[in-house]
Symmetry: C3
Subunit: 288 residues, 3 copies
């Protein structure tokens, strides 16, 4: 899957012929996150909480892991964006997830859905589809997850949280899902695809070893929430920026890494220290 | 906030004119933790569990993450100290928190409260105030959290878990809160302040990048529990020692760090390997 | 305890006089995990989830942290092995643990039990014994935990999750427990002992600093689940292989470590990158 990753210096073909707009835009989004330090509420699985909070902090955002229905009506309106992740799901967490999505909608704040292992079981799939009905601003999953949401059926080939499909296998499903749902849909993989049902934007950053770090997908979804929170009217662009910046951080981190654990460390360090020249030189976004 | 951090080699003015007592005392506390390996029960949020347990282990303490009401009456009496942290709170965790505090009180064991995001919501504030009623030996928070406890009101400026006030803004509130509650109150920030309502002790160790590591505050609160557990009759001094030692470990770690994630790693490594000469040379504690 | 660790190049005495079979077998098990990428369902404590998932990923397995009774009947049959860990236990987690064990048994899939702090409280002990009644393929604990399971009584000397007995103190108890339960019993410590009640196999790999990394025991239990999943009819051998490979990874990691936190990072990196020559040269397994 990783082989189709583009790492050359070919000029990028941007939207409407513009070659150079995407990298400055990604950098501008990161600068906005650093300067506004958006409060991002995360309702996420137990595995990812630590890595996700550190990802947001290193990008300049302010994470708050708050999932109780007793706090959401009062707290969610203060957040600039919400990230809801379906991992380690039990029925008692669902009311808080739904309430946070509803409050975010009422407050016109963006919220982002990570449908972890959506096709793994009927219970999980039903919960994810109920969340889709609440119209997330963005939904980000791997190929298997997006296909499960699109088909609305449990994946008999499911291998839990790991995708058995490449991101490219799910592009058409992502487009249809975006059209049906009104959400921006992002499929991550060797190439990440982001679509509003009409346009399809591709992000070519990242390294294959990300698949060997638990919760790297969860963490980038939270980063999407932060980027969309500071530019809510351009959710496609902000999502592409977040995926590209996270990918660039992993590429730089890879130079210092000796394996998945040191990559996780150097990725966070690189995200924290990322400078303009590096971002502009490395971001690889194009249109399909 | 970080600019007012004192990092010079000026002689420290200790209590009652003694310049040199604090650093040896901090080292003595760490040596006690290493030799006694106190069992510290932690009831803490999901984000912090891993980092907190590793912080305690690296300092020489023995952490036990046990929060069930089914175990507390039998287990808490075996612990030498208890750390209770209000992050990722839901109502079902409160009975265990209260029971552990009560059992610790009955057994005359110190317990330490971390009122995470106390002013974030009414639910959180009420829970934190109920815990304060159980008279923790020490309560440690950032400026916003201590001000919320003192005022007993939700903070309309709240940014979740991150403080919008400097520690210096909360010194008077900390003194009053200590007088009212009978607890030692510690406000952490660029300078940490520890007070019993009468004396105010200042710790000048630490690095600004700690704010970019999730659960660093939670972890230092657990370290306070370990230090107070081995010297329960000197809670002000033990609290100052814990904050200084954690700060020194972060300063040493900073020399090896390339960002927040490697700092977290090197902080734990440094805490584990800290030697007497380094501790004596770096601990910066003074009185207000 | 660490002093009795054997680190020489003495020839190993394998079963039935074979000196050289164990190291190639351990490598073969790791290669099987890497090639089959077994889906391992983990029901584990909050502290360990991140480290455990990363341990499995770095070994080539596919972890899935799924604990809801709503998903187990549908999901557990897809897994190749199950790891059940009793840390941070509350009563609401027990039905899922029992159901997963029962479904694994029905599907003839191996499941592995980690009886964290079994002797810590009556509640914990009862829960662990109930899990033992469901006949795990393998149970792995430290000396204190295995002794508590064998005696069926709370340990009045218990220090929470840390063992107060060496692994050697629990060998006879482990043998008896294996005979009574039909499970393979592994006692980890300076030397790890694995027994089916008849044979006793010893693993001499590992470093003392593992005791300073929280959830290192939990993580190696998950690794055992992955190794037994790819060779279920040889649970003693697969368990010894997993303990040896994890120990070798810690030994290599130790060369790069400056303390417990960097050891955790380098251990995962080393497990990911472990090659045949290193494994064959370092694995130290013998029979009692």
């Amino acid at each position: 899957m990783a082989e189709d990753k583009i790492k050359t210096n070919e000029p990028q073909k941007g939207i409407e012929g513009s070659i150079l707009q995407w990298a400055p835009q990604a950098w501008a989004h990161l600068e906005l996150v650093r300067s506004k330090s958006p409060l991002i509420q995360c309702i996420t699985n137990f595995v990812s909480m630590d890595f996700m909070a550190n990802t947001l902090l290193s990008a300049g955002a302010s994470p708050a892991m708050i999932h109780s229905v007793d706090e959401i009506p009062e707290f969610t309106p203060k957040a600039l964006g919400v990230c809801i992740n379906m991992g380690t799901l039990t029925p008692d967490w669902l009311p808080g997830m739904k309430l946070a999505a509803e409050v975010a909608n009422q407050c016109k704040k963006p919220w982002v859905l990570d449908p972890v292992a959506a096709g793994g079981t009927s219970f999980r799939l039903k919960a994810c589809l109920e969340m889709m009905d609440l119209r997330p601003s963005v939904v980000r999953g791997n190929g298997s997850e997006i296909l499960a949401l699109f088909k609305g059926s449990v994946d008999s080939n499911s291998k839990g949280v790991d995708s058995v499909y490449g991101s490219g296998d799910a592009v058409e499903a992502a487009k249809s899902l975006a059209q049906q749902s009104g959400s921006v849909v992002a499929v991550s993989g060797a190439v990440d695809f982001i679509t509003d049902g009409d346009r399809v934007v591709c992000v070519h950053n990242g390294v294959p070893m990300l698949q060997k770090i638990t919760a790297s997908g969860c963490s980038v979804t939270a980063l999407i929430a932060a980027f969309v929170a500071v530019d809510p009217s351009n959710a496609v662009e902000a999502t592409a920026s977040a995926l590209a910046i996270f990918g660039v951080a992993s590429e730089i981190g890879m130079d210092m890494a000796r394996g998945p654990a040191s990559l996780r460390t150097s990725l966070i360090d690189s995200l924290y220290g990322l400078d303009k020249a590096t971002a502009l030189g490395r971001v690889r976004i194009s249109c399909l």
